[in-house]
């Protein structure tokens, strides 16, 4: 490394901050970009907790290996297996580190870290800090970042928007050497040089209009990398969370921890029963999840709970008060206990709905929550390579491999979590790698921090490598960068030239209206239930919106703090990703995890046990979709039923084994 080497991290959520701290710790200066002060990043919203094997669970037969197995099974085998193994093995160390940073994890009376139950597991393996775990973890990393900032190793660019990656070279040899960004106050656009760029820009909930995400989660940054040639994998895998409160501006999440702490989901057995919840006797309540999934009960994974709730309301019209809502009931629990364990979300419900969930069951409905898909990344597998993939791992069995670091991934290999463009990395929710076709609750925070810490070392090693030594970004001619600055300035000019300050802007060309219509369409066509006919209609609609967007008219020409510019520009990028999501949903003619095709209701391993990869062709403005082999060398795929009692006969054996 020379004195001039620098690393850029775009995004100051958990993944970005963990990366910034790790890279700075190695002595490499970091430029950290974020749309908002990093302390306000979307990670702050995470409520429920973070998973890791722990001593108590271990003595009941749990292990890091089982955490790995659960995650693979939960993700319906769509995740490459080596990275997931490494992540599960590091999880307990990640918790220890956060603990040392001062995260106020809930404690037992003896002073140990308390644990709770979460979906997709029969063991308590979720660590938590009240019901604002994400906030507490983010703050801990924010504090450590500030420490490096005070030392001068991290320089923050907050309220700066990432616009485009700067690359040099073509094809396989293409390398990322910096970014173009814009100051959202002064509107200055300028290039930044770096020997490696980490994208840690989170998910794309805003593509679906109202979701549980923060308002800044528009996926624009990833969409720009995609249009610049980075591959985008499994875009069709969108997680819809079963329990959210519908709202005018967003859907507010009621964390899975509500069910982990004993919350029960039900509707009145009698259709159209208008009695208040507390007047409906126990035997007239239909606890449909507990009935169908006696083993996991209310804690089946999200896609399953979501589809069951959707089915009850939309198909069977059994929703509470005839509306699209079911009860999430905690009223049987001690109110003080609830305040202690779930205070944060109790408060959210009270604040935004007006009822006290300690006294009245909450009314909830599914909402878009998480994108398993994202920028495609690669890795170097570690030392564990069984001769044949192993079968199901049951509690208490001795794991086929111990939890030593390096079994899953080669520690420090420069390509871990690197995109198809050299030197361009993707960490956190924007990385497609860890959750396959569905993410298990409380695994996202883990994957974000793991990416930042573990693959942060890979970034450092890449910068130390030959390629950078021979041509550090600092040494490149300025033309390499100017080209991209000009491209971005031209986009801005086009938008500003469209400004019309008189009369009503026609809805066809109003950027905000286009974004709203996109959200409604994507929610209707690309979430809980998908069909060929509906997807084709959706693709047409998105085409129409893109057409209209090409003639978008703006309403603000300000050369200072022009928020509309930022929003309307991102809308263009959201449209591109939306189109890719819809097309990918159409291509994957099977049902797997969160992706449910009514016309192809079964998982089809022969055709589709594969990663779907989108490649953008700028010349034709088309998406090239292909399928890549998945690394299934560690665990043999098995039916994913979660012990459903009316499962097909051949799946029954497993049902018995699991319940």
């Amino acid at each position: 490394m020379s004195a001039e080497n620098r690393v850029i991290v775009v995004g100051g959520g958990l993944a970005g901050l963990a990366a910034a701290v790790r890279v700075a710790e190695a002595g490499l200066p970091v430029d950290l970009f974020s749309l908002v002060p990093v302390k306000r990043s979307h990670s702050v919203c995470a409520q429920g907790g973070i998973n890791a094997c722990n001593e108590v669970a271990r003595q009941q037969g749990y292990s890091e290996y089982q955490h790995f197995d659960e995650t693979i099974y939960g993700g319906d085998y769509l995740a490459d297996q080596h990275p997931v193994l490494e992540m599960a093995n590091w999880a307990p160390k990640v918790i220890d580190l956060l603990d040392r940073m001062g995260v106020p994890f809930n404690r037992t009376s003896e002073g140990n870290r308390d644990l709770r139950l979460f979906g997709g597991s029969l063991f308590k393996r979720t660590h938590f800090a009240g019901a604002t775990t994400g906030q507490q973890l983010l703050y801990a990393l924010d504090e450590q970042t500030r420490r490096y900032e005070a030392e001068g190793l991290v320089k923050k660019y907050e309220f700066w928007e990432f616009l485009w990656p700067v690359t040099e070279g073509e094809g396989e040899g293409r390398r990322c050497v910096g970014i173009v960004a814009q100051d959202m106050r002064t509107m200055q656009i300028r290039p930044f040089r770096a020997d490696a760029v980490v994208m840690a820009t989170g998910g794309c909930g805003l593509v679906f209009g109202k979701s549980t995400n923060s308002i800044i989660c528009n996926g624009g940054a990833a969409a720009r990398c995609y249009q610049a040639g980075a591959w985008y994998a499994n875009p069709e895998m969108i997680q819809v969370h079963p329990t959210a409160i519908p709202g005018a501006d967003k859907c507010r999440l009621m964390s899975e921890s509500a069910r982990g702490e004993g919350g029960r989901v039900w509707v009145p057995r009698k259709k159209g029963d208008r009695r208040k919840a507390d007047q409906i006797p126990e035997d007239e309540r239909w606890y449909f999840l507990e009935e169908k999934y006696p083993g996991y009960g209310n804690l089946v994974p999200r896609d399953i709970a979501t589809r069951e709730i959707f089915d009850i309301c939309v198909n069977q019209h059994m929703g509470v008060d005839g509306e699209n809502q079911v009860y999430l009931d905690l009223t049987h629990k001690d109110p003080d206990y609830l305040t202690r364990k779930l205070g944060g979300i109790m408060e959210i419900y009270e604040k935004f709905v007006g009822d006290d969930p300690r006294k009245v069951p909450m009314k909830i409905f599914p909402a878009v929550h998480y994108s398993m898909g994202g920028l495609w990344t690669t890795f170097t597998p570690g030392s564990y390579t069984p001769e044949t993939p192993v079968g199901e791992h049951k509690p208490g069995m001795v794991p086929p491999v111990d939890a030593q670091p390096g079994h899953g991934l080669a520690i420090g290999a420069p390509n871990n979590s690197m995109t198809n463009i050299d030197g361009l990395y993707a960490f956190g929710e924007v990385n497609f790698a860890y959750h396959g076709a569905t993410r298990l609750g409380a695994n996202a925070l883990l994957s974000c921090i793991f990416d930042g810490l573990f693959c942060g070392v890979s970034v450092v090693n890449f910068v130390k490598g030959d390629r950078v030594r021979e041509a550090p970004a600092e040494s490149l001619p300025s033309q390499v960068f100017d080209r991209f600055v000009e491209q971005e300035e031209a986009k801005v000019k086009k938008l500003l030239d469209s400004v019309q300050m008189r009369g009503e802007i026609a809805p066809e060309h109003n950027g905000y209206t286009i974004a709203n219509e996109l959200g409604v369409e994507m929610n209707a066509a690309c979430t809980v239930v998908k069909t060929e006919g509906r997807l084709k209609k959706c693709i047409e609609k998105v085409r129409e919106l893109r057409e209209r967007y090409s003639k978008v008219v703006m309403s603000d020409s300000a050369a200072w703090s022009n928020q509309s510019l930022s929003f309307v520009r991102a809308t263009g990028d959201m449209l591109v990703i939306a189109e890719l999501i819809a097309k990918a949903s159409l291509e994957r003619e099977e049902s797997r995890g969160s992706h449910y095709r009514l016309d192809f209701p079964e998982r089809d391993d022969d055709r589709f046990l594969k990663t779907l990869v989108g490649e953008y062709d700028p010349a034709s403005d088309e998406h090239k979709i292909s399928f890549r082999e998945i690394d299934t060398s560690l665990v043999k795929p098995r039916p994913r039923t979660y012990g459903r009692v009316d499962a097909k006969p051949q799946d029954k054996k497993e049902a018995v084994a699991q319940s």
């Binding site: 220890d96 001062g102 994890f105 800090a129 604002t132 923060s214 007006g354 703090s561």
Partner: protein
């Protein structure tokens, strides 16, 4: 319930079901605007069709889509700051009907329950306005640097677990640690004054939020190592002695952080610390 324009520590008072709820109707917004530093301040009024469950943010979104005043004049979208939309990121703080609070949790049916009610929106007054309702709170983050608001760990490599902690200490620290740097406590504080010049931040009153954060880190087993530096930083000008004990801060904190307790605790610690320093010369 009447429009809540009185400062109140207890947001729970708002949990009764408001009268206006569940109806679509028009609400007027009077908004204090400014196109940037040094530019004149002006007011504009908008009428917004609200829907059940609407909050300030959903109304501002509608204004952005149709930036037309009640006079029918086309204008620019109002600029504001927001993030989580669930009162946990602190971004969307503004002065609503004279009271500082988060706009995402300000439900229209509660703050303007009756037809014809007007909602007045202003940017916070203690921070420089960037544009319209968006202010620059960088000073709050600088304050966190000043008090070393972190646990000084030996790096991020695996070195085993952190210290054990009693549930009581955890509960105390947890509440303090929910501070989302929103700035409500500073807006309400008579001692905390607007200061645009970063060079003067160090000597101006640091405010309740940072004082409380100093207490948070002093309470942690490892965090304690930085205790002396934190107290040193809070001893001189701009430190804890400038608090006039007006207690406005604690009344407006959306996270119910016991700010006056924190201030008292830091005040005592600083006193003891300065006496010890005087005796030992360290």
């Amino acid at each position: 319930m009447v429009a809540d324009n009185t400062p109140s520590a207890d947001n729970a008072q708002e949990t009764s079901t408001p009268e206006g709820s569940g109806r679509a109707r028009k609400v007027r917004f009077r908004i204090k605007r400014c196109e940037g530093p040094g530019k004149p301040v002006y007011w504009q009024t908008f009428a917004v069709q609200t829907e059940p469950g609407a909050n300030i943010i959903s109304c501002l979104q509608k204004i952005a889509e149709h930036p037309v005043t009640v006079e029918g004049e086309r204008t620019t979208p109002v600029t504001w700051d927001s993030g989580c939309l669930e009162e946990v990121c602190g971004a969307c703080t503004m002065v609503i009907n004279g009271r500082v609070r988060q706009s995402c949790s300000a439900l229209i049916d509660r703050i303007a329950p009756n037809d014809g009610d007007e909602v007045v929106l202003e940017p916070m007054s203690k921070f420089p306005v960037i544009r319209d309702l968006w202010v620059d709170r960088q000073r709050m983050f600088e304050a966190l640097k000043k008090i070393d608001a972190w646990v000084p760990i030996d790096g991020t490599y695996s070195l085993g677990a952190g210290p054990k902690e009693s549930p009581e200490t955890q509960a105390t620290r947890y509440v303090l640690s929910t501070c989302m740097s929103c700035g409500c406590c500073l807006e309400a504080c008579p001692q905390y004054l607007k200061e645009e010049d970063p060079a003067k931040w160090d000597s101006s009153f640091i405010g309740a939020a940072a004082l409380s954060q100093a207490r948070l880190f002093n309470l942690h087993e490892t965090g304690k190592q930085g205790r002396k530096d934190r107290l040193d930083a809070l001893m001189g000008p701009g430190g804890v002695s400038e608090c006039g004990n007006a207690q406005n801060c604690v009344k407006v904190c959306p996270k119910h952080i016991p700010l006056t307790e924190s201030i008292a605790a830091i005040g005592r610690a600083v006193t003891v610390h300065s006496i010890a320093k005087w005796f030992t010369g360290k």
